[in-house]
């Protein structure tokens, strides 16, 4: 059994037993049974496994556990509580405004890529609360969607940012 190692997962100190060289993705989805970060390529090419590490989007499939020890890992599951913290809400909402916009726009098809889409768009909105359409596209360009839901996704991100949700 590996020695005790821990990181902050969605605001909670979490100890895990996986070997230190295990990619974070397998720690999250197997040992911790999370469903947000998920396998897509294992090659840092698609964005399926994205999480926020100290607020920055990283690919969990190529990030070893050893690189996140003691640090702040935020997965899709922890975005509503992160939003509540930053917005100073007393209660954690069921969805962040971005997730609500995605549902309202019915942007999703299979939805498998939306873990990465939501993580990356959250990072964008945290750094740039009112992005232009070009900025949204640039930020999300490293995230693939095979179902071709980009137009609805762009509308949803702009809507969540208060830009009205219409394409320019």
């Amino acid at each position: 059994m590996a020695q005790q190692q821990a990181f902050i997962l969605n605001g909670v100190e979490t100890a895990v037993a996986s070997e230190a060289d295990t990619p974070l993705l397998y720690v999250l989805s197997d040992e911790l049974a999370l469903q947000g970060p998920r396998f897509g390529c294992g090659l840092a090419q698609c964005g399926s496994c994205s999480v926020l590490l100290d607020g920055v989007e990283v690919r969990a499939c190529v990030t070893p556990l050893s690189a996140v020890l003691g640090r702040d890992v935020r997965t899709l599951e922890g975005l509503p509580s992160l939003y509540a913290e930053t917005a100073g809400l007393d209660e954690v909402p069921e969805y962040t405004p971005l997730q609500t916009a995605i549902i309202e726009e019915q942007a999703i098809q299979c939805g498998y890529c939306y873990n990465g889409m939501i993580i990356k768009a959250t990072e964008l909105l945290n750094n740039n609360p009112s992005p232009t359409e070009a900025e949204v596209r640039a930020a999300l360009n490293g995230h693939l969607c095979r179902c071709g839901t980009y137009p609805g996704l762009i509308r949803a991100v702009l809507k969540a940012a208060g830009s009205g949700g219409e394409l320019a």
């Binding site: 897509g40 609500t100 549902i103 299979c110 939805g111 498998y112 071709g148 609805g152």
Partner: protein, 737 residues
């Protein structure tokens, strides 16, 4: 007069039409509730109980035999049930596809969910309502005509007091009545639920991250498995030939190899160990030169002996020789891959006399037969459950991965979960087959089509998946001839009145090529890439507007409807193509096209930009119109059109499976790129709603039109025609040279 309502729904209209889009869907967590005794299916399709269960709490479960592929069909099919039962969507739920639970409605193919499944669910619901009302009439001693139903509550006409509820009549008991299909259906004019853009019930869970994908399924005592193969496939006939394997190469890892015939895999307690072991296991393969490589693909196909069949032959195509205007055009389409965003995954638990298999098949009963054959079990001993994975768009590797999990589970005597890695899915896909099309067509001086001749070369789909081929030594073979793998008379000239037409199919034996299968709108993009460019060329030679030329030759109202809808949405300006050629580096063009798959009608307009210096093509805007008869859920169909247009842009600009003489070399997103968000065009989906026509497919029927529109836009911009796609900079520069 036929109704032809061209409905262009903007997002805002949608919101109005659908009322407030709810953010929570109260019944979603019960989506996969299995509420009845499971036993080997299929359940008797002639019994109403196989389709519908009414519960004591006045809710109902609808058993649907179609896979939710992210296209929203489970929501749309429930709309039919809610309509005919006079219940609310909130009172209905459905269950996951399962050979022990759900009826056999055939696979979810060819946009069949609405076309085949819609009427079945609708009739079953109508019959259940009829039975419920006659029970109510008896209990209340009132004639049926005096009863009405709202949200599953029965009222006696003239009274506002509920008399009784469906749940009181049969609550959780069986109907025990035969499904005759004879109960009268609602008048489409009275639809409340059908034809409304209701929000999909799976979306909130998917946004939240709690939707249970196939990749999230686990079984107690389960091991993680990975397959070990060469990184890309060789010729189908060759399969995989294992020479030697050195198991000591994974000694340092807590994993072991599983070998059966030429099938190689690894299993491990921990997933990362399985991934590492598969990567480092030393295996030697026999890899002779079995493939033509991309460069010699089409010459080999054209030189091959073929099995020929005439698909359509009317009039006298030799009139071409003396026609006023003639066009001769040949072009090719590449192999293209399904490559779902997440590679396929499956979980199998095989014992001596049973097998449970969880996977993302589009056809649970078909997969059950495959697995039974693979394992030497009877179909009734095998239970297959469908769990949604990433959007698949046809036959990706779901059967192969399910078989791999079953083989490994049988071998090690424990449940095994196999996740294909990226190269397994990219490199071992059953690709959409390559195509060669050769066409000549002619028109009279007024612009009436006179002759149309088309010859097409392609191979069929692969019948035996790689796991079955390697583990059991079953020889490669192809599917028998069927419509979607041959030249398609609906797409090839079927939209026009042509007095003299001949379509000739050349079937090339596929065993010496890559594995093939249906990829969304099978072959149609390649067909219209040839045909609609040739038609466009006739219009151009006549100096006529390409839209007007098509209108003049159009076959019927349905085709005219989608042509006009797309043109109108795009604000089409009449005039001949390529009339504004100039010497600028960056030029723009607009094109139009028609096409479909095996049913429904599609029309599209494309705006593109070509950089003549770099060869870079950008697609700026795609407009796509579909007439799918009755559109049950316009919001779903709008999303489907959007997805089809974006995917068509990707397929026309970027997608081509690369291979040398030895194997496929497109094994990841770098070697087989797809469209990224920066390059995503503006999209305008248009629905031609026809409430009185039967519902048809809307999941693939505008792609062929859009492919043609893009090709024709290239000509409008440059005065040159592309004869190969995808439009890579090298090909574009060659065409312009």
């Amino acid at each position: 007069m036929k109704t032809r309502a061209v409905v262009s729904l903007s997002r805002r209209d949608l919101l109005k039409a659908g009322g407030a889009l709810v953010v929570t869907f109260p019944f979603a967590p019960m989506l996969f509730a299995q509420s009845r005794q499971a036993q080997p299916g299929p359940p008797d399709a002639n019994s109403i109980d196989s389709w519908i269960a009414i519960h004591s709490d006045n809710t109902a479960t609808i058993y649907i035999g179609f896979a939710e592929l992210g296209q929203g069909c489970s929501t749309a099919l429930l709309q039919f049930a809610a309509e005919e039962l006079d219940m609310d969507m909130q009172q209905l739920r459905t269950v996951g596809l399962d050979t022990h639970v759900t009826p056999n409605q055939g696979g979810t193919y060819s946009s069949s969910a609405m076309r085949r499944g819609g009427p079945q669910v609708q009739r079953a619901a109508a019959e259940a309502r009829q039975a419920l009302l006659s029970m109510a009439a008896e209990q209340l001693a009132e004639p049926v005509e005096n009863l009405s139903v709202d949200k599953g509550v029965v009222f006696i006409r003239g009274s506002n007091n509920p008399a009784l509820r469906y749940g009181d009549l049969v609550g959780d008991r069986q109907f025990n009545i035969t499904f005759t299909g004879s109960a009268p259906l609602k008048d489409p004019a009275s639809y409340r639920v059908v034809a409304s853009p209701l929000p999909r019930h799976d979306i909130p869970l998917k946004a939240k991250g709690t939707y249970p994908y196939m990749q999230h399924q686990r079984l107690p005592g389960m091991l993680h498995g990975r397959i070990v193969r060469p990184p890309g496939q060789s010729a189908y006939r060759h399969g995989i030939q294992l020479v030697s394997l050195d198991e000591s190469s994974i000694d340092g890892i807590d994993a072991r190899a599983v070998v059966k015939g030429n099938f190689v895999g690894v299993v491990a307690q921990r997933e990362w160990d399985a991934v590492r072991a598969a990567a480092v296991l030393q295996v030697e393969w026999d890899l002779p030169a079995t493939l033509p490589g991309n460069d010699n693909l089409f010459s080999r196909m054209q030189a091959a002996p073929t099995n020929d069949r005439i698909a359509r032959d009317e009039g006298d195509v030799s009139l071409f020789d003396t026609a006023a205007v003639k066009s001769v055009f040949s072009a090719t389409g590449p192999y293209q891959a399904h490559v779902p965003f997440a590679p396929n995954c499956a979980l199998a638990d095989v014992t001596e006399n049973s097998a449970l298999v969880l996977c993302s098949t589009q056809d649970v009963y078909g997969t059950r037969n495959n697995i039974a054959g693979l394992l030497g079990l009877e179909p009734a001993q095998v239970r297959v459950q469908y769990h949604e994975g990433a959007g698949t768009f046809g036959h990706s590797c779901w059967d192969d991965v399910a078989q791999a999990a079953a083989v490994m589970s049988q071998h090690v005597g424990a449940p095994v979960r196999v996740q294909f890695m990226r190269a397994d899915e990219h490199g071992w896909d059953t690709y959409g087959p390559a195509h060669i099309g050769r066409m000549q067509a002619s028109a009279d001086a007024q612009g009436k089509l006179l002759t149309y001749e088309y010859e097409g070369w392609q191979h069929h789909w692969s019948l035996v998946d790689t796991t079955l081929q390697t583990a059991n030594g079953v020889a490669a073979s192809e599917w028998p001839a069927m419509a979607a793998q041959q030249i398609n008379p609906l797409v090839l000239g079927g939209m026009y009145n042509i007095p003299n037409i001949k379509l000739l199919n050349h079937h090339v034996d596929g065993l010496d090529y890559l594995k093939g299968a249906w990829l969304r709108s099978p072959l149609d993009l390649s067909f219209t890439f040839v045909s609609e460019q040739c038609i466009d060329d006739l219009a151009w030679q006549l100096g006529q507007d390409p839209c007007e030329f098509r209108r003049r030759n159009i076959r019927d109202d349905r085709w005219l409807g989608v042509l006009d809808a797309a043109a109108q949405a795009a604000g089409w300006q009449s005039g001949p193509a390529a009339a504004n050629l100039n010497n600028d580096d960056i030029v723009r063009g607009r094109g139009i096209g028609l096409g479909t798959h095996l049913a429904s009608w599609g029309g599209a307009v494309a705006d593109i930009e070509v950089n003549k210096r770099t060869g870079q093509v950008r697609i700026l805007h795609l407009y796509g119109a579909i007439d799918a008869g009755l559109t049950v859920n316009p919001s779903n169909v709008e999303n489907q059109i959007t997805g089809q247009l974006v995917q068509t842009a990707s397929r026309m600009l970027l997608e081509e499976v690369l291979f040398d003489q030895y194997s496929v070399t497109s094994t990841d997103w770098n070697s087989y790129p797809i469209l990224r968000i920066m390059d995503c065009p503006q999209i305008t989906p248009v629905i031609v709603q026809r409430k009185n026509e039967p519902p048809m497919g809307a999941g693939e029927e505008v792609m062929a039109a859009a492919a043609a529109a893009i090709a024709n836009a290239f000509f409008d911009a440059t005065g040159k025609r592309m004869t190969m796609y995808p439009f890579t900079p090298a090909r574009v520069l060659q065409a312009l040279a």
